[in-house]
């Protein structure tokens, strides 16, 4: 349940460390975003090591794809899965990834054709 003002971690090598959600996309007055949704974020912190070499700057506005949430994702057979953090991957206006690598696994929910690029960048699917 990601909403405006939620601070999320970034798990890719774009250079950003944390971002803040400023808009939930996908409908008129849509309040909450869940796994697999797109949101608009603004960069809050950069990773220490990449302040000179990062692709993003503090305060820039990007789109992001939510890849891990603490809220359980419920599947059709009744099982649930949830992670230890709320995490996103930065994405540009055409919904293509900004970075070249994703840290950590992706949920099997994203095993669709349009997320093929993300799956190939990550360590694996859970």
């Amino acid at each position: 349940m990601i909403q405006q003002q939620t601070i999320l971690k970034v798990s890719d090598n774009s250079g950003a460390k944390t971002v803040r959600c400023i808009r939930v996309l996908g409908g008129f007055r849509k309040k909450y975003a869940k796994l697999g949704d797109n949101i608009i974020v603004s960069v809050q912190q950069l990773r220490n090591k990449s302040k000179k070499t990062s692709k993003v700057k503090k305060g820039e506005v990007y789109k992001a794809l939510i890849i891990r949430t603490k809220v359980p994702h419920k599947k059709k057979d009744g099982s649930q899965i949830w992670f230890g953090e709320n995490s996103v991957v930065l994405v540009n206006k055409q919904e293509n990834p900004v970075s070249t690598r994703i840290i950590g696994p992706l949920p099997k929910l994203l095993k669709k054709k349009k997320f093929q690029k993300f799956i190939s960048m990550s360590s694996g699917l859970i």
Binding site: P72, D77, S79, F83, E85, P105
Partner: protein, 186 residues
Amino acid sequence: MLGIAARIGRFAASSSGLPRWTAAAFSTNLRTPEEMAVLHHGLRPRHRAPKFKSPRKRASKLLQELQGELVKSNKANKPDVWGTHFRVGDAIELVIGRENAEKNEIEKIRGVVLGISRKGLDHSVLLRDVVFGQPVERRILLHSPLLQSVKLLEENFVYKGKRKVKRAKLYFLRDRNPELTRVTKW
């Protein structure tokens, strides 16, 4: 030495002038069906109409019985799942996939059992693991038709097999070192 109640019961049971229900009321052992009949329905068995139950209660009772039948048939037909015995604190591996699935569609899930919820058809297991450096928790229903088998990897994984776990739910492991609950090797 018999107590007062037992002595009255013994006297009433013998051919005294007291009515039959006194013997049943003061009997000290478990009441026999004949004694119960005498206590509740009087001296003769009475014909009783079936008790009126509201339709909602009747429906929920029927649903309960149907679910119980499903549970019994699942346990008989799936020895791979219900034959393995595991407790809270063990490391287990589940194989999930439909019956004629190809090799890349079958999923193997490993994890430490943090808790078991026994609710009939919703019998579920809470598993925790650390995969690709990320802690993951899953709740899986054991009556799912997609579940093929359950395998016990290590008993008392949380304490490395040295001592038993003393809790029904191990939620305290969420605040501890994630290495304690890591079953999958990356």
